[in-house]
Amino acid sequence: MITAGVDVGAKYVKTVLLEDAKNILVKANGIVEFDVLKSATEVFEKALDSNGLKRDQIAQVVATGMGRKTIHMKPPINAGEIVPEVIADAKGAYHLIPTVKTVIDVGAEEGRGIKMGENGKVRDFVINERCAAGAGTFIETMARALEVGVEDMGPLALKSTNAIPMNAQCCVFAESEVVTLIHSKTSKEDISKAIHDAMAGRIASMVLRVGVEKDVALIGGVAQNPGFLPPLKKELNTEILVPKHPQYVGALGAALLALKTEAK
């Protein structure tokens, strides 16, 4: 049986097709544009086409992510169920790392900390409030200020050994600090490290509200950024596991939950 999980995030749509609860047939993603349903459909159909599948061969589709309602019961995807990101994240992370007790998901717009209960269930969670300073958009905004690509931010940060304090409570204030640093001739490496350190500090303080227990997993698009993991480890004073393709964990969780809903 093939199920699908579609994670309609703030910036990207991610899709996972799963066969018999274990074989990931395909992963696909694409940018979310103004027409969210169209963007999600394109990614979903790309995933189907790459395996020569049709929609009616998918037993169940579960949607997650902030745009999940856009594809709920709406053709051509017709997601039969929608689940919040926290539940899909927990399911996917537990599937990949059964010993996981704390999941940290940092996406484009939100950061989340999840305390895991038994069997991949959510015991407690926390989500950043209101400001993008604790999410991937923060790094993108700062990359624009530094005039570098977002993919260069992590490698740049790793080249710096200096610690420069920076405000990460507000994205707008942080950007003005970056501009000040640029004018004071601080190197891009040091500024990039300051940005990652500040963001790690903000995420860590949020996650500590629900408590950090090993094993700790980092998922979401920002988990691919090599400059973010070292300061987060330092802030939380713990090892952090990053699964392969961390940006697909929510979609994988949704595909796993689709099995459960199909069985009803």
Binding site: M66, V83, P84, E85, V86, I87, K121, V122, D124, F125, V126, I127, E129, R130
Partner: protein
């Protein structure tokens, strides 16, 4: 978690009577002078039974409930906030207080139905108590603002910072400290109003207050029933009588009728939320402009039974020897003299549950845990209320205490009276996640 079934439900018969009482209250204050009466201002926790000795024609505007009424009408609130910020006050201060000051600055007065009237009716005197920092400053500034408009308003404040009697009764000298201030306050009231003082009216008012606040606790206790006969959103419109006029006979009469009706609902199994299957409580004041969050909860079969705030802001409670939290026992008889009345109201008031956390955050946690157990609560929603430093103080510690006790907790940030600090869509999205993580699904759109 209760079973997934449908309970019968019906509207409260007493609802309109409560609405009329609230509307009349603010109109009475507005028109007091036309009827030869006096107006006074003070908080919901002030010893309102004391000015009652001046006569039946003395009317109060109670600051916090009026601030909440303003908050409900968001357009007017925004104007109040603009006015206070333009006057140099920061937006981090108590939101009720800013609403109240804004109303004076705008020289406008809002009635309970949202009608805005030109001219803010200044009080003839201020009678307040000090329990939190904002209460301490509120009327000092209100007085300055009135003075700038040409009216000097005399003010008397009672300091009640004597601690909380959680396990042991308060020492006599602490009771005397408050008693003496009230006793002196009566002389002050006579002096500034030029009216005589009637101890019989005082004794009546004290007895009314004690009975009203006990009756409200009785009513809240009835919500232990499954299904709950009352939901918190409705309770907000009912508890407010105890904040506005706890010393008045109308309040006692209203709560007696309400108690009888709620008892009848319990007997007949009438639910506030027809599909009740998950019971929550909240904490502190809600974001008043966004009470629809309670209706959203109902779509999941969630009923909010109340909170330590709704139960204990006005209701009076004590721990029994068996460890249960229950309505406080009434004194054996009505007071007969001024001294007896003043001592009785002080002894009664220092047990107010919502004063406990100013001294002992663990006392608040203990009381919330008692509600969780006795009211059969499945989860607690904690409002990190940026609009009220008083009731939000230590709230993160309370969260820790609840989590350690194994109670699921959903904290959310907001503001009771300033809509700029509440993210409705974000809060609803997180609330949905919380309910779904509890195994609930939406039952209807």
């Amino acid at each position: 978690m209760t079973q997934n079934k449908e309970y019968p439900t019906e509207l409260l018969k007493i609802w309109n009577e409560g609405k009329q009482l609230r509307e009349k209250y603010y109109e009475d204050y507005l028109t007091a002078h036309e009827r030869g009466g006096l107006r006074w201002a003070g908080g919901a926790w002030s010893f309102s039974a004391i000015p009652a000795g001046l006569g039946d024609d003395v009317y109060c505007i109670t600051g916090e409930p009026h601030g909440a009424t303003i908050a409900f009408f968001k357009d007017f609130t925004a104007k109040c906030h603009e006015a206070t910020e333009a006057a140099g006050f920061p937006r981090t201060l108590c939101a009720y207080m800013r609403n109240y000051w804004g109303s004076i600055l705008l020289d406008k007065y809002i009635l309970a139905d949202g009608t805005v009237i030109d001219g803010h009716p200044a009080p003839d005197f201020i009678w307040q108590d000090h329990i939190c920092c904002s209460h301490g400053k509120w009327y000092q500034v209100a007085r300055w603002l009135e003075e700038r408009k040409g009216k000097k308003v005399p003010m008397y404040c009672v300091d009640v910072s004597v601690g909380y009697p959680m396990d042991e009764p308060l020492e006599e000298y602490k009771i005397n400290y408050i008693f003496q201030q009230l006793n002196d306050g009566i002389e002050w009231l006579e002096k500034v109003t030029g009216k005589g003082y009637d101890d019989k009216l005082l004794c009546e008012a004290v007895w009314n207050e004690i009975n009203a606040t006990r009756l409200w606790a009785d009513i809240c206790t009835l919500n232990q029933a499954v299904p709950a006969p009352l939901d918190e959103k409705s309770m907000y419109s009912l508890y407010v009588m105890g904040t506005l006029m706890k010393h008045r006979p109308e309040c006692v009469a209203f709560y007696k009728k309400l108690k009888a009706e709620v008892e009848d609902r319990v007997r007949r199994g009438i639910a506030a939320v027809t599909n009740e299957r998950f019971r929550v409580i909240t904490d502190t004041q809600p974001p008043w402009g966004f009470l629809r969050i309670f209706r959203e909860m109902e779509k999941y079969g969630v009923v909010s039974l109340g909170s330590l705030y709704t139960y204990g802001l006005i209701g009076m409670w004590k721990y029994r020897l068996d460890g249960t939290w229950a309505p406080k026992d009434l004194p054996p008889r009505k007071p007969q003299t001024r001294e007896e009345a003043l001592r009785m109201i002080v002894q009664w008031t220092v047990d107010r549950p919502e004063w406990a956390h100013f001294y002992l955050p663990e006392a608040k946690t203990k009381m919330i845990l008692s509600i969780v157990k006795q009211w059969k609560v499945d989860a607690v929603l904690l409002h990190y209320n940026r609009g009220c430093e008083g009731l939000s103080v230590h709230i993160a510690e309370n969260r820790h205490g609840l989590v350690e006790a194994g109670v699921p907790v959903f904290p959310f940030e907001g503001n009771m009276g300033d809509e700029r600090e509440f993210d409705l869509q974000g809060t609803l999205a997180r609330l949905t996640t919380f309910f779904e993580s509890m195994g609930l699904k939406k039952l209807r759109e």
